[in-house]
């Protein structure tokens, strides 16, 4: 794609700005910031990827993955700022998900051990795990606010911390997975996934692109479930103190 084509594509941004102004939506500043950020971020990533691919060294890949994980964790950790060690709990969760999925893909030689594959697929997995972590923490907070009485009831009857939170944990895990599952149900019918579209545009055989996309769909499903479950079990003990009392100020309102 030529530079001119990219410049011309800014017409879409102008269209959004005109609409925002015409309907007094007050989004002009946000649209501009988003576009500038997206441009800068993607350009920087493009150059970094170029360098990492050129380097073709495991250390380059590991550093790149670490940066991706840290940025994702930082974003997701905002949801549960008051939970002790929340940053590390999300870090451990996403790292396990990344290791399990990449271990599987590389171990069974489903993808070649090259930075192009590892980094691109990891980006999808880590990004998805970040969203799941966000959804999970958000839902958990809402459920605890709503069902605090049930937690107190189980504790007051001599139940354990785990018994008191388990139904809520289960609900939060389920709820955080619903968008992923629902999104995958209409895949290809409503919209073609970005990666598949990219491959087809780049000239790949559509069937080949579909096969690869299927791999990603299954992978994302597994990664999403793993993220919600691991994070759930790492987070819940922090919601209680040593005297098995619910510590309600562990969450900050979003």
């Amino acid at each position: 794609m030529s530079l001119l084509a990219i410049i011309l594509s800014f017409i879409f941004v102008i269209l959004a700005l005109v609409l925002s102004t015409a309907f007094k939506l007050g989004l002009g500043k946000d649209i501009m910031i988003t576009c500038v950020r997206a441009t800068i971020q993607l350009l920087v990533v493009g150059y970094i990827l170029n360098a990492v691919f050129g380097l073709d060294h495991p250390l380059g890949i590991i550093i790149m993955l670490l940066i991706m994980i840290l940025v994702a964790v930082r974003n997701a950790a905002k949801r549960g700022r008051n939970i002790p060690f929340v940053f590390w709990k999300i870090f451990i969760t996403i790292s396990i998900v990344e290791i399990v999925t990449q271990g599987f893909l590389l171990g069974l030689k489903i993808i070649p051990a090259s930075p192009q594959y590892i980094i691109s697929i990891s980006g999808m997995i880590i990004g998805n795990s970040m969203i799941i972590a966000n959804l999970f923490l958000n839902r958990l907070q809402a459920e605890i606010d709503l069902r605090k009485e049930e937690i107190l009831l189980v504790l007051s009857l001599g139940g354990s911390v785990k018994q008191s939170i388990f139904p809520i944990l289960k609900n939060s895990i389920r709820a955080s997975l619903i968008p992923t599952i629902e999104g995958q149900k209409t895949i290809g019918l409503v919209q073609l996934p970005g990666m598949m579209t990219g491959q087809i545009i780049a000239g790949a055989d559509p069937i080949q692109a579909v096969k690869f996309q299927l791999l990603i769909v299954f992978l994302i499903m597994a990664a999403a479930s793993l993220t919600a479950i691991i994070l759930g079990f790492l987070i819940y003990p922090s919601l209680f103190n040593t005297e098995e009392q619910l510590v309600t100020n562990r969450f900050l309102s979003p």
């Binding site: 049930e150 009857l157 139940g159 354990s160 005297e243 098995e244 009392q245």
Partner: protein, 242 residues
Amino acid sequence: MEIELKNIHKSFINQGKQQSVLKGISGEVEKGEILTIIGPSGSGKSTILSLCNLLQTPDEGELYVGGKEIRDWDVRNLRRYVGIAFQSGPMMKGTVLENLSLPMQLQGRTLESPQTYMNYVGLSEELLSREAKELSGGQRQRLSLARTLVNQPSVLLLDEVTSALDSKAAQEVEELILSINKDHKTTILWVTHDLAQAERVGDQTWLIMDGQLVEAAPTNHFFFEPNDQRTKEFLHSSRDII
């Protein structure tokens, strides 16, 4: 002595500010006695209850249950020994039987004779298969008490358990609680805003105001010959409102 509070202090952080809820409460409750706790809203009455089964921990002071400091108890055993019934009679999702069996289920055991408990609290056995959340307020409160009794508590904490009920249901639940006390010699700490009820059911009554125990006296004495001027004023103003 079943319950003994020694200079109990408790404060909470509310909107970034430390708020003192209990300011040095001391008092005793004999085994099998009914203590009624009265006082204005927000005076700290419910907090006293939540400390007795360690749903909250005192910041200062000592609290003895059955002769043992609450922090020396295994917390789950303490919560079985000291049962609590909440104002709303909260129910878990599921049937009446599932709710009634909950205390046993939490210990990985099965409730042997749910019918006995249902009969005891005056609920029909036919209700066992109904969804618990469909029950009326009075039925919920009875079920809530039955569920607490499954653990065979020696102490029962009651937090405004009749305040959300109509007068007939309230009277029936009150009678049920009195029979629990009589049949099982259960020590009861009963928070109520209904002064007539406090007078009717109590052996001993405490007035809590602004986190302090203003007066503790045998119930008859408390209502007929209060010692403290603040008690006289509180009883007078509350009766005026009624």
